[in-house]
């Protein structure tokens, strides 16, 4: 499988994602620059975390001026998987690809650490290798991790099974209904604030992020085997 790690100026954790996918998970991964942005040949796109455009104005906002956003929107339409973590999630939300918006953390401070998450939906292509209701631990690091959607939308998301992860502890930073990760309507785009790429090796932060990547790969190989 070939992953594009879509990097904007300031997306400082792009290399971390490449490392996770390429060296640990063992699939193809390369950084794609936001200016070049030909995504067609890739099987999946990941928007890594970091502070694209310095998080200025609103996190994820200024990335909307990059040519890559249009290619990304095209890519989303193909139905192939797109994952945005941390700042990558914020970019997806600002682009309108995922619902909601981000506010500053409830206590106004940048926060980092580990959060315990509930896997709310283990039947998505991003979570199939987890168990439904499983609790996992993933690192997080953000200043605007306070996810907002209006009540109606939240209800709808829940009804549609599009809330993929929720915070099981008090590390939600104010997020509506403790939402930590959501899916788009088609089910091929996942955004999440916790950072699975920081939890793929025991030496640095556990391995609870691994099944997420394995799920994507499993789904891909199933589809591609049936095509063959």
């Amino acid at each position: 499988m070939r992953f594009a790690i879509l990097s904007f100026p300031g997306s400082s954790c792009d290399e971390d994602m490449v490392h996770a996918v390429l060296n640990i998970v063992g699939e193809g991964a390369e950084v794609v620059n936001h200016n070049q942005a030909d995504l067609k040949s890739f099987d999946a796109v990941i928007l890594p975390t970091g502070a694209s455009f310095g998080d200025y104005l609103r996190p994820g906002a200024l990335a909307q001026s990059s040519p890559a956003i249009n290619s990304l929107k095209e890519f989303v339409k193909t139905g192939k998987p797109v994952l945005g973590v941390g700042n990558g999630f914020q970019i997806l939300v600002e682009a309108g690809i995922l619902p909601g918006a981000f506010l500053i953390n409830k206590d106004l401070k940048f926060r980092s650490g580990n959060s315990t998450l509930n896997v709310e939906n283990a039947s998505t292509r991003f979570t199939a290798v987890y168990e439904e209701g499983q609790q996992i631990t993933l690192p997080f690091a953000h200043h605007y991790g306070n996810y907002y959607v209006d009540k109606e939308t939240a209800k709808q998301l829940k009804a549609d099974g599009r809330i993929v992860f929720t915070y099981a502890d008090d590390s939600h930073d104010g997020s509506v209904d403790g939402i930590a990760g959501v899916l788009n309507v088609q089910g091929n785009v996942l955004g999440m604030m916790p950072l699975p790429e920081r939890a793929v090796e025991a030496i640095i932060g556990g391995t609870d992020g691994l099944p997420l990547f394995q799920s994507i790969i499993k789904n891909w190989s199933e589809n591609n085997v049936s095509h063959a």
Binding site: L57, R58, A61, S65, A101, L103, L108, N146, Y148, D150
Partner: protein, 84 residues
């Protein structure tokens, strides 16, 4: 160049963590007469064009980039339009 002030505020339905913190701090400092506090953004732009052009363009900038309509509202004020 004409100066335009864009005022971006959080929508009423959205909780404003900064506003709440500011209100608490003001109360602690003895400013008990303060009720609600909301913190928004003031964007000062300099740009060229006629009044009508500016109006249209600034609106577009807000919609496309400067404002996140999911959580924010905006208004703007155009200063004296400079001749060309």
């Amino acid at each position: 160049m004409t100066k335009v002030n864009v005022y971006v505020t959080l929508r009423e339905s959205v909780v404003d963590p900064q506003g709440i913190a500011a209100k608490d701090a003001l109360h602690k400092l003895g400013f008990d007469e303060v009720g609600n506090v909301r913190i928004g953004r003031l964007i000062e732009l300099e740009l060229s064009g006629t009044q009508a052009e500016i109006e249209e363009r600034v609106k577009k900038m807000c919609e496309v980039l400067l404002v996140n309509k999911v959580i924010e509202d905006y208004s703007f004020e155009i200063g004296e339009v400079a001749g060309k």
